[in-house]
Structures are given as structure tokens and as C-alpha cells.
């Protein structure tokens, strides 16, 4: 019964998803609201269940997955973010010809996949979780299939994602071939025996990390991100930039720490390169963007770079700083994309240009203030709460003696601040453009308010509980 209790959240989501898929198939479009709200309910139940055995049951299924504090921390970010993605779609797909009831079901499937990703302790379960997420994601990206941009995004994501999966599998097969095991502890033991001198192991490590870097959209595997984010329907973009990103980062942390721990010196330089390249490319490439979704795509690349700085620092402090960073990043990004969802012209058609934000602070002061809070927070300017996770990862880097890395990274924040500031400038300093239509989604409004409050200076009250949780989660890896 142990595994049943420990994996209860995923089991509930999986069974629920299958049942709801049937409902959606039989009842058709009419069932969309019911299926959506039931999916949200399932995700909430799954999140609540995390407080039980799933956070401390240890290895289950013969060591294929581990239900520990780390996995529970990841799922506690992923499930609510997925729920928000379902709520965000409310009122979005009804306008088109799409069959909207399948959207929440796909999100549920990907949530199961992400749950497996963060708790996997075996390369095979890692791959299964990743593919479950990816297949659902490809469909989600092309969800508005009559829309050229959406179809293009889906195709691009699929082709490149399949390539990345291939790279990942090749890395896994090399590691398996040279060590004879797929479990993380087994890999760690093999690396400890041979060091990182075995060329085969090194190759496997590099391919494995490349595959993961694709999923977190770290430079140089980021090319798909802006196109997919721009082309996918906005609720899907909201989903892509939060939950899967968090899941892939956490998976990366677990693989690096548990599986490749003894080879830290080998992967650290890769991570450092990816971190700095992501920070600088994410910051510089965002300068010229005129579409807010593309801008936020580069912002997510930039932010992944900062999270990777924490990973490069290594050790429990480093892992804990990554967890802290991701938790706050997800809240900020959810809020920012919810604001993007609200950008509708007077006919209710979505607009995505930065120019349409012009003078928003006069026509919609509260909306503008919320978006400004998210922008300053993403830029990491105190007193917004987004400053603290940056401080935490730089603190981890300096504790690990990586002072030059910290200096380079923090200079990247200044470059990045420029384009966040551009959004603020357009909203506050420019003359008003045509006002947006008022949204009729009170739940989304409430979510914007709640996320804005969390990343405002009020968030500082959460530092202690959040860092305790992150420390405990990171501690379960060592």
C-alpha cells in the first residue's frame, strides 16, 4: 500500500484525466465548464494530498520514483500553476471553433508527467515523465489549429522537441551502456568510481544535460522558445512558461545532484556557461521586441539563467536557492501572463503589441500597477519580492566561491532591467492609446491581485516559511 499512498496525487490526476476525457468526448462542448472546474478541483485535491505521505514516503516502485520533500515541493508549484492555466483559458477558446473541453484534460496529463519528472530517480521514469509532458504540450501549442501561428508553433515545438528527446535518449543510452544502471544512485556510484575521466560517461552527461537544457530553454537550446510562446494561445503560453519550466529545472537539479553528484566539476562548467549565456542573451535579445509574449519569452530565458546560477553553486544551499527562485518566478510569471490575457481591444480580440499598452496607467490604473509590479519584480528591483530570489541565488554562488559568476550575473540584471523598464515606460510615460475592453473574469482578476500581492513587498513575510520549505526539500536530496 505504500506506493499507492505515496503516488496518490498522480493516480488521482491520471484516473481523473481519463474519466474527464471520456466525459468531454461524449458530452461535447457543453461540458467545457464542468470539465474545467472539475480539473481545477482535482489539481487542488492533489496539492492538498502532498502534505501527507507523498512528501516523506521515500523511494517507491522499487526505486523508480522517490516521494520525498523535494518532489512534493516541485508538485506544490506545478499543480497550482496548472490549475491557474486552466482558469486562464476560461473565456478564451469559446470564441473559436476549437473543442475547448480537451484543454483541461491535456493539462491534467501533462501535470501527471511533470509529477513523474520531479520525483523520478531513474533515467527511464525521467524519460516517461518528460515525454508525457511533451506530447501533451505539442498538442496544446497547436491548440488553435485553424490559426497559422498556433499550428506553426506546434510543429516547431514538435520537431525541435523530438530532436531534443533524441539527444536525451542518446545520452541516457550512453550512460546506461557505460555504467550498466539507470538509477540515480547507481550512476552516482559509477561516477564516484571512475571519476569523470571516462569519455563515454562524459559524453552521456553532456547529451543528457543538453536534452534537459532544451526543456528549460537555456541558451544555446532556447531557439524554439520565442516562436512557440508567441504562436501558442496565451493560456498555453502561460502554462509553458511556468509549470513545465519549473518541472524541468527541478528535474535538472535532481539529476545533477543525485545522479551526477560526484561529477560536479564536470557539469558545473556546462551549467555556468548555460547560465551566463541565458542571462545575457535573454536580456539583450529582449530589447528589440515589440510583442509582449516574445518579450516575456526572453524574460523566461533570462530568469532560467539566474536559476541555473544556483544550480552551478551546488550543494544543499545551491539546490535550495534554485527551489526558492523557481517558486517566486512561477508566481511572477503567472501574474504577468494573466495580465497579458487581459489585453483585449474593444471587440474583445486579444492584442499582443507593447504599443497597445501605451498610457495604460491612465485608462486602467490598477491593471497597470499590477503589471508594473510584475515587471519590477521580474527585473529584481527591490523592494519588490522578485529581488529576494536573485539575492538567494547570488548568495549561494558566493558561498560556493563563484564570485566572478555572481558579478557577471548581476551585471546581466542591469541589462535586463532596460526592457522591463521599457514596459513600465510605455504604460506610465506614454500618451494613452485606445483603451482595452474590460474583462469579465472575476476569478482571473482575483488571481492577478493575489499574485501581485505575493510579489509586492508583502512577500518578504514569506521568506522564512518559503526558505524553510526549500531547505527541507533540498536537504532530502543529500
Amino acid at each position: 500500500m505504500n506506493f499507492f499512498q505515496a503516488e496518490l496525487p498522480e493516480l488521482i490526476l491520471m484516473i481523473g484525466a481519463i474519466v474527464l476525457m471520456m466525459v468531454a468526448a461524449i458530452a461535447g462542448r457543453r461540458s467545457t465548464p464542468a470539465v474545467s472546474w472539475l480539473s481545477v478541483l482535482l489539481l487542488i485535491v492533489a496539492t492538498v494530498l502532498l502534505f501527507g505521505p507523498p512528501s516523506h514516503a521515500g523511494p517507491v516502485f522499487g526505486g523508480l520514483v522517490s516521494a520525498d520533500a523535494f518532489a512534493a515541493f516541485g508538485k506544490a508549484i506545478i499543480f497550482p500553476a496548472a490549475a491557474v492555466a486552466i482558469i486562464a483559458a476560461h473565456g478564451w477558446f469559446e470564441r473559436g471553433t476549437e473543442h475547448a473541453a480537451e484543454y483541461p484534460v491535456l493539462i491534467l496529463f501533462s501535470a501527471v508527467g511533470m509529477g513523474v519528472m520531479v520525483s523520478a530517480t531513474n533515467l527511464m521514469t525521467l524519460y516517461i515523465g518528460l515525454e508525457l509532458l511533451s506530447l501533451a504540450s505539442y498538442v496544446l501549442a497547436s491548440y488553435r489549429r485553424m490559426d497559422d501561428r498556433s499550428a506553426e508553433a506546434g510543429l516547431k515545438y514538435f520537431v525541435l522537441g523530438a530532436l531534443a528527446s533524441g539527444i536525451l535518449l542518446y545520452g541516457i543510452s550512453l550512460l546506461y551502456g557505460f555504467t550498466g544502471t539507470m538509477t540515480y544512485p547507481g550512476l552516482a556510484a559509477a561516477f564516484a568510481r571512475n571519476g569523470a575521466h571516462s569519455l563515454g560517461l562524459l559524453f552521456g552527461l553532456v547529451f543528457l544535460l543538453s536534452g534537459i537544457a532544451f526543456k528549460v530553454s537555456a541558451v544555446p537550446f532556447h531557439m524554439w522558445t520565442p516562436d512557440v510562446y508567441e504562436g501558442a494561445p496565451t493560456p498555453v503560453t502561460l502554462f509553458f512558461s511556468t509549470a513545465p519550466k519549473a518541472a524541468a529545472l527541478l528535474l535538472g537539479v535532481r539529476v545533477c545532484v543525485e545522479g551526477l553528484g560526484p561529477a560536479t566539476e564536470a557539469w558545473r562548467q556546462i551549467i555556468i556557461f548555460a547560465a551566463l549565456a541565458s542571462i545575457f542573451l535573454g536580456a539583450v535579445a529582449a530589447w528589440g521586441q515589440t510583442n509582449i509574449k516574445r518579450l516575456l519569452a526572453y524574460s523566461s530565458i533570462n530568469n532560467v539563467g539566474f536559476a541555473l546560477i544556483g544550480l552551478a553553486a551546488g550543494g544543499a544551499t545551491g539546490a535550495s536557492s534554485v527551489l526558492f527562485y523557481i517558486a517566486v518566478y512561477v508566481v511572477m510569471t503567472l501574474g504577468a501572463f494573466l495580465c497579458v490575457l487581459w489585453m483585449r481591444d474593444e471587440n474583445g480580440e486579444p492584442v499582443e503589441t507593447l504599443a497597445s499598452l501605451s498610457g495604460l496607467s491612465e485608462s486602467r490604473p490598477a491593471f497597470a500597477a499590477a503589471l508594473a509590479i510584475f515587471m519590477f519584480s521580474l527585473a529584481g528591483i527591490p523592494p519588490m519580492f522578485g529581488f529576494w530570489p536573485k539575492l538567494v541565488v547570488f548568495n549561494a554562488a558566493i558561498h560556493a566561491g563563484l564570485v566572478p559568476l555572481a558579478v557577471a550575473g548581476i551585471l546581466g540584471t542591469v541589462i535586463g532591467a532596460y526592457y522591463y523598464l521599457k514596459v513600465i515606460k510605455i504604460m506610465y510615460l506614454d500618451e494613452p492609446a485606445a483603451p482595452y475592453a474590460r474583462s469579465r473574469e472575476p476569478v482571473q482578476g482575483l488571481l492577478i491581485f493575489a499574485t501581485a500581492l505575493l510579489v509586492s513587498p508583502v512577500g518578504y513575510l514569506l521568506i522564512r516559511p518559503l526558505s524553510n520549505l526549500a531547505d527541507r526539500a533540498a536537504g532530502s536530496l543529500f
Binding site: 539575492l391 548568495n395 558566493i398 513575510l461 521568506i463 522564512r464
Partner: protein, 507 residues
């Protein structure tokens, strides 16, 4: 002391008022802001009255642990006390100065000023390294909006320049702070002021802090954001910028650089003197040729701030006390000068010097106050400017004759550009008919300028009121830097030891 958390209140009241401002109409927002600033002023007076000079170093201490090392730790010493007083004194004047001249989006404007006040008080009161950083950096957001939304024609460029320049300086300081905490294991500023960092580490930390404070102060050659920001900001924004924000740089040197890294401070003393010397001469010359009144005063600010760095890095009591008085005096005088410019700007909507002239005829009251502040800026005895600059020069001379020569040149040039400005605006014949018919100061404008005039005279005639609370703290800093004090070029090496004895005896 009774357990009233005065400093927390001084931060909370403006924050609350700012929040209220956002939800009311323009007139109510003005009154809310004014009442809040007066409440803060009252609390400031309470602080001043309750502060015991020569008592414990840190008074009105509050401490609530938040997480790990990070804590809500507040407390002031004499230096922070005087700067806090300056802040709460200038704020009601700023609100008054914006009463009529700001008509666009008043509630947001007042809210931004309220947030600004809370953050400025926080900077001077913070006793936790990261808390200090949060307050220090947080000021960027409201100031960016104040310049950007309510500023002049080129406000966008100016606000960007202000934001990115200052941010670039500060992030390096953040890295240094994290490093300090990692090494020493504490975030407490008082504890760090006693901590001895290894000399080779001090250099890097000192340079990282310099990057931040040099931009903020500002020092030559990173001063170029200042003229733009000053010229484009609304009058009250310039007052706060010149009056308080620039002081954060000087405060940073005296709170962090000198006591935490005395060896590095001594090592880099020549650098500071060279930069200050260039700043004082160069920016004074630049100020001479300005056609825009605000720009002229902005450049004069850079020159005056050089007296602060001269005085602080002279490593002696006179120098440091002088630097602190220059900071206070400049806060009042430059604030007042920007208000004086604002008065005529509100009437003719131009800052071009050439448009005015002969104002002494139709605006005698204005000419009188303008004269007083001009003299204070020049450093005439009897005004606050004299006390600070004189003490700072005495200190500088003991360390470096060349530095003192450069600084004195600056005083002469300062007299030149200020008196010439005054002559062109107030004397002679009016150059335009509009200038000749402008009305004299209104009652509101008298109420704005007269308190500053009183402050300037008070500080000039009886500076002891302001020096007394700082004396013990300056003594502690001098003592802390004593062992690494450079010998200087003003006297033979043998005589240096004698000076130390004399200084010791005086204490």
C-alpha cells in the same frame, strides 16, 4: 526610552498615506500627503528631542528577526539622526511646492512622494545590510516615475539614465554585501562596523561600494546622470534629489566605506582626492557657462559634493564633521535654490537665464531670499555653507595641500558662477516684458522658503546644535580609521605622530 517604535512609525505613516492617496481625489491626496509629512516631522522632532548625545551609539533600536540573517533592524546614531531630520524637514516643503504646479495625476504623484519618504527614512535608519539595500534601491522606482511622468520635455531619457546608472552602481555593492555576510556571518551594520576584513579583500569590497556611492553622490566622472535628472524632474523632485538622495552617497561612505574598510579607504585616499579635485574645478567651470538655471545648480551640486569626499577622506575630525555639515547644508541650500528656480519657472515656464533680469525691482522679497541662499551656496560666513566648507578645508589641508588648493579654487569659482547667476536674474533691467511684471512671492511660497532660510542661518550661526549629536559618532569613526590613517603631504612625517597625540588629547 519608552517602547514606542518611532522609526517604524516614521516609515509606516507615509506608506499608509501613500496608499490612501491612491484612492482619493486630487485635493484630498494633497492634504493627506501634507498631514502625513507633518506627522513625520513631528516624530522627527521627537527623535531629536529624545536622542541623547554621548549616550549609547545606537538609539531607538528596533529588531525583529525575519528570516535567517535578514531582520527588520532599525536604529539611528547621531549622523543618521541629522540626515533623517533633513529628510522629514524637506518633505512638507516638497508637498507644498507641488501644491499648485502639479495638476496632472495628483494622487499618484503624492503616493510616489510618500513612498519616497518612507524609503529615505528607511535608508538612514536601517541597521541590517540587506534591509539597507532594499531601501536604497527601492528609491529608484518612485524617483523614476516622478521624473518620467511629471518631468520636462526630455523626461524619458533622463529617467532611464537615472535608473540604469544608479542600478549599475548598486548591483556591484550587492555582491560585495553578500560576500561580507558570507565572510563575517552577520548582516548587522553595527557589528560589521567593528569587523576587520583582511586588507586584500577590503580593496575589492571598497571598490564595489565606491561604484554605488560614487554614482549616487555623484562624483566625477559618473555624474552625468545628475544634470539631466535635475533639469527634467519637477521642482519638488529636484529638491528631494539634491536634498536627500545625493546625501545617501555621502552617508554610504561614512557608514560603510570608512569604518568597515579603513585600510582600503586609506589606500584609495589619493584616488578620492584626485577625483574630488577634478570634480570641484571641472564642474564649477561647466556651471559657469550654463544657460539653464537648474543645470547650473545641478553642476554646483557636484562641486559641493566634492567637498564631502574631500572632508571624509581627510581621516580627521574636522574633515569628517565638515563633510557632514556640508551634506546638511547642501541639502537645505540646493533644495532652496531649486525652489527659488521653481518659483519663477511657475510664472514664466522657462528656465532660461537670459529671459529674466531685474527681478529685484518687482520681486524684492524673492530677491532677498534668493540672495541669502546664493550667499549660503557661496559659503559666506554666517550661513551654513561657510561652516561646512571651512571645516572640510581645514581637514583637507592637514592631509593634502594640493587637495586644499583645488578645493579653494572651487570656492572661488563657486562665488563666480553663483554671483553671476544672481546678477543676471535679479539685477540690471528686465530683459523681457513678462519678467518685469511678475508678482512677488505668494504667502505659500514664503512659507516654503522661510523655514529653510531659518535653518540655513541657524546652522551658520550656531552649528553646535547639529554637531553635538554627531560628535561621539565622528569620534568613533576617527578612532576606527586612526591606525590606517595616511600621513599626508602637509607636514613632515615626524610631525604626524604629534597630530595624533593632539587629537587624542582633544578627545
Amino acid at each position: 526610552m519608552i517602547g514606542l517604535p518611532v522609526l517604524t512609525l516614521m516609515i509606516a505613516i507615509p506608506l499608509l498615506a501613500g496608499l490612501i492617496c491612491l484612492f482619493v481625489n486630487a485635493s484630498a491626496a494633497r492634504w493627506t500627503a501634507l498631514i502625513a509629512t507633518f506627522l513625520d516631522l513631528a516624530l522627527g522632532v521627537y527623535l531629536w528631542a529624545g536622542f541623547v548625545p554621548g549616550g549609547p551609539q545606537w538609539q531607538f533600536v528596533e529588531h525583529i528577526a525575519l528570516a535567517g540573517n535578514f531582520s527588520w533592524a532599525l536604529g539611528i546614531d547621531g549622523i543618521a539622526l541629522t540626515l533623517t531630520m533633513l529628510t522629514v524637514f524637506l518633505m512638507p516643503i516638497c508637498i507644498g511646492a507641488s501644491w499648485r504646479s502639479i495638476v496632472k495625476r495628483v494622487p499618484e504623484y503624492m503616493a510616489a512622494f510618500m513612498l519616497m519618504e518612507a524609503l529615505m527614512v528607511g535608508v538612514f535608519a536601517a541597521q541590517d545590510l540587506f534591509l539597507f539595500y532594499v531601501f536604497f534601491e527601492g528609491g529608484l522606482i518612485p524617483m523614476y516615475l516622478i521624473i518620467g511622468v511629471w518631468g520636462g520635455v526630455e523626461r524619458v531619457k533622463a529617467s532611464y539614465k537615472f535608473f540604469l546608472y544608479t542600478l549599475l552602481g548598486s548591483v556591484l555593492m550587492l555582491i560585495a554585501m553578500i560576500y561580507m555576510v558570507a565572510t563575517s556571518g552577520t548582516t548587522s551594520i553595527p557589528a560589521l562596523m567593528q569587523y576587520n576584513f583582511p586588507a586584500e579583500v577590503q580593496q575589492w569590497l571598497w571598490l564595489a561600494f565606491l561604484a554605488s556611492f560614487a554614482v549616487k553622490l555623484p562624483m566625477w566622472p559618473v555624474h552625468t546622470w545628475l544634470p539631466d535628472a535635475h533639469v527634467q524632474a519637477p521642482t519638488a523632485g529636484s529638491v528631494i534629489l539634491a536634498g536627500v538622495l545625493l546625501k545617501m552617497g555621502g552617508y554610504g561612505f561614512v557608514r560603510f566605506s570608512l569604518p568597515m574598510f579603513p585600510d582600503a579607504s586609506a589606500q584609495f585616499m589619493p584616488l578620492m582626492f584626485v577625483l574630488s579635485g577634478i570634480a570641484v574645478v571641472y564642474t564649477s567651470l561647466v556651471a559657469l557657462v550654463q544657460r539653464d538655471m537648474k543645470k547650473l545648480i545641478a553642476y554646483s551640486s557636484v562641486a559641493h559634493m566634492a567637498f564631502v569626499t574631500f572632508g571624509l577622506f581627510a581621516f580627521n575630525r574636522q574633515g569628517i564633521e565638515g563633510a557632514l555639515i556640508v551634506m546638511l547644508s547642501h541639502g537645505l541650500v540646493s533644495g532652496a535654490l531649486f525652489l527659488v528656480v521653481g518659483v519663477i519657472y511657475d510664472r514664466l515656464h522657462t528656465r532660461e537665464i537670459a529671459v529674466y533680469g531685474g527681478l529685484a525691482n518687482n520681486m524684492p522679497g524673492y530677491a532677498l531670499l534668493f540672495m541669502l541662499f546664493t550667499m549660503a551656496s557661496v559659503g559666506l560666513p554666517g550661513t551654513s555653507g561657510f561652516v561646512g566648507e571651512f571645516l572640510s578645508l581645514i581637514g583637507t589641508y592637514q592631509m593634502s595641500t594640493w587637495g586644499a588648493i583645488a578645493a579653494t579654487t572651487g570656492i572661488i569659482l563657486g562665488a563666480a558662477y553663483m554671483l553671476w547667476l544672481y546678477w543676471r536674474i535679479c539685477f540690471g533691467a528686465a530683459r523681457t516684458p513678462e519678467a518685469a511684471t511678475m508678482a512677488d512671492l505668494s504667502a505659500r511660497e514664503w512659507w516654503l522658503l522661510a523655514p529653510i532660510a531659518v535653518g540655513v542661518m541657524w546652522m551658520g550661526i550656531y552649528p553646535e546644535s547639529f554637531l553635538r549629536p554627531m560628535r561621539a559618532d565622528v569620534g568613533r569613526i576617527v578612532e576606527r580609521v586612526q591606525h590606517s590613517r595616511p600621513i599626508g603631504d602637509s607636514r613632515p612625517a615626524g610631525a604626524a605622530a604629534q597630530t595624533i597625540q593632539v587629537a587624542g588629547a582633544a578627545r
